[in-house]
Amino acid sequence: MPWRETPAELERARAEQPVLIGSPSGRLCGIYTPAAPDAPRAGVCVVLLTSPRSHRNRMWVEGARRLATLGFSAMRFDLHGTGDSEGETAFRNPNQPYREDLVAVLRHLGAAFGERRFAVSGVCFDARTALSAFEDCADSIVGLLFIAAPLMELETLVQAASERKGWGHLMHALRKPSNWKSMVRPERWRHAGLVLSRMVRRSVPGGNAAELPLSPGFRRDFDALVRSRSRALFLYGREDSEYESFRVAERELFPRLDAATRARLEVEVWPGRIHGCTEMNRQRESFERGVTWLARLHPSVAAAETARR
């Protein structure tokens, strides 16, 4: 169902405060939503990252106002070079997240609104940016909602994508004239070579392809998350191409965590796709899951869960 604004959400909208925040890359434009004064205070400001800030179908607008009715404050903002923010517009490489933007926003929230505890949330590039803030601000982050982000360098992702491809796929590709035409470009030969070598190694008995490496940036930021006391939800669709890279993290990183840390970091892998948010029912499901998970960071909910356990 499409979002229907409730009277309580409309009230939160009336309280919203647009802000300009200085960052090394230019002024960032954001909107702060104060917590509802009559709701029990969560003491957590949820920072919703996306570019532009409303996200597809105004998801983060709805999320900010709904969370505010539950006692959270919220902030949504445009990263530099996007939406209403200043700065150069460039290709957004998930392995070069806009950490400085987010750190500037968290510091501004502290200085201007007295916010001390944060939850950060994002999809894909924005999730990697959310995670990158742990390097500077781990002590103040209590929750991370991390949705469908790639965890490898871009060239490695191409190889990871080939893990989904079989010989049938190759035969199909060979029958397409457009693929042959594109082979005039050297990078297409390189791509074909990478994919083919992965497939051959997988096909030969005993010739399993080596584990593809996670990006050093992700490893560093994940380590900072592990050292923190923050909770996290990693949410992927099994058919997301980004999930191939997360599978490596599931095999390499998660088994090494001690029990207490592992309990803090939840993983959910759903059938189908989540990345892209281009299918309405799935968009609503993943949005609802994200907001519900964030709402559980409220001290009263957390206390009730602890009591039940």
Binding site: P2, W3, E5, D84, R92, G276, E279
Partner: protein, 279 residues
């Protein structure tokens, strides 16, 4: 290097609801320059064009033209339900934004910028008596029915690009809008309320009384004006309007976000040049 003060985000009230806007104060002192008022497109197109609109507003402010960009109800950071958006509600918000633009800038003259579906909104606002000195149209939606159908064709192309066979035709999806009240357009709904509100509406008809300076900026890969844009230009010229055209050979991909996002530098430059020539 920008000469204009920083753009200021804020809310104003229309129909007793907060609407979001960004005001771009002018850099150089040009007191006779009109304010540029943006009427955005609808659905996801509001996002795909927002960076180009912001870039243009900054460039216009640098050239001495104040600008106001706003989000209509049910869009972006404003309030209201997208499901209830109609041409009438969009025009009501545009008229409120026009009053806000004049109050903020102290300017009495307005140049309207209609982006895609926003062209219909700007034209109808002008038809209802909004002050208008000139009109810029970016890749205008001339016939709303064609606009919706092109949007739905985009869904089919997207499915094909992902190796999926489309489950419905465009006609079937248009029937679904009428029958079910909405259809999924890549993570946005196309709602019956909007479709019904534009029945029998056409940009050329809405501009029937307009004879002011007009810019038609086509944003497509093709090298010449489409027949639809050329016909619109001829019809305006026949009524005495001074019409300029610009062919911007870019394909923003209105329904899909790109990385990097579309910035429309050439479009902004051409539009500022047209503004400069007017003043």
């Amino acid at each position: 290097m920008s000469h204009a003060p920083p753009a200021i985000p804020s809310f104003f009230t229309a129909a007793d609801r907060p609407l979001f806007c960004v005001y771009h104060a002018p850099g150089p002192d040009r007191p006779d320059a009109p304010i540029v008022l943006h009427a955005h497109s609808t659905g996801f197109e509001q996002l795909t064009s927002c960076l180009a609109e912001a870039g243009f507003a900054r460039a216009a402010a640098d050239a001495g033209f104040p600008a106001l960009r706003y989000h209509a109800r049910g869009h972006g950071d404003s309030t209201g339900d997208f499901a209830d958006v109609t041409l009438d509600s969009l025009v009501e918000d545009a008229l409120a934004a026009a009053a806000e633009a004049r109050a903020r800038s102290g300017r009495s003259r307005i140049v309207w910028l209609g982006v895609r579906f926003g062209a219909l909104v700007a034209a109808e606002a002008i038809r209802r008596g909004a002050p208008a000195d000139a009109l810029a149209l970016w890749e205008p939606a001339i016939d709303p029915d064609r606009f919706y159908r092109a949007m739905l064709r985009g869904v089919l192309f997207f499915h094909v690009s992902e190796g999926r066979r489309p489950a419905f035709t465009v006609d079937q999806m248009m029937e679904a809008v009428e029958r079910d009240g909405r259809v999924d357009v890549l993570g946005y709904y196309l709602h019956r309320a909007l479709v019904r509100s534009t029945r029998g509406v056409n940009l050329e008809t809405l501009l029937g009384g307009w004879s002011g300076p007009t810019l038609i900026a086509q944003v497509q890969a093709r090298p010449r004006l489409t027949e639809a844009h050329a016909a619109l230009a001829r019809s305006l010229e026949a009524r005495g309007a001074s019409v300029s055209t610009a062919v911007i050979r870019e394909e923003p991909g209105w329904q899909i976000s790109s990385n990097p996002a579309w910035v429309g530098t050439d479009l902004a430059r051409r539009t500022v040049e047209w503004l400069d020539a007017l003043a």
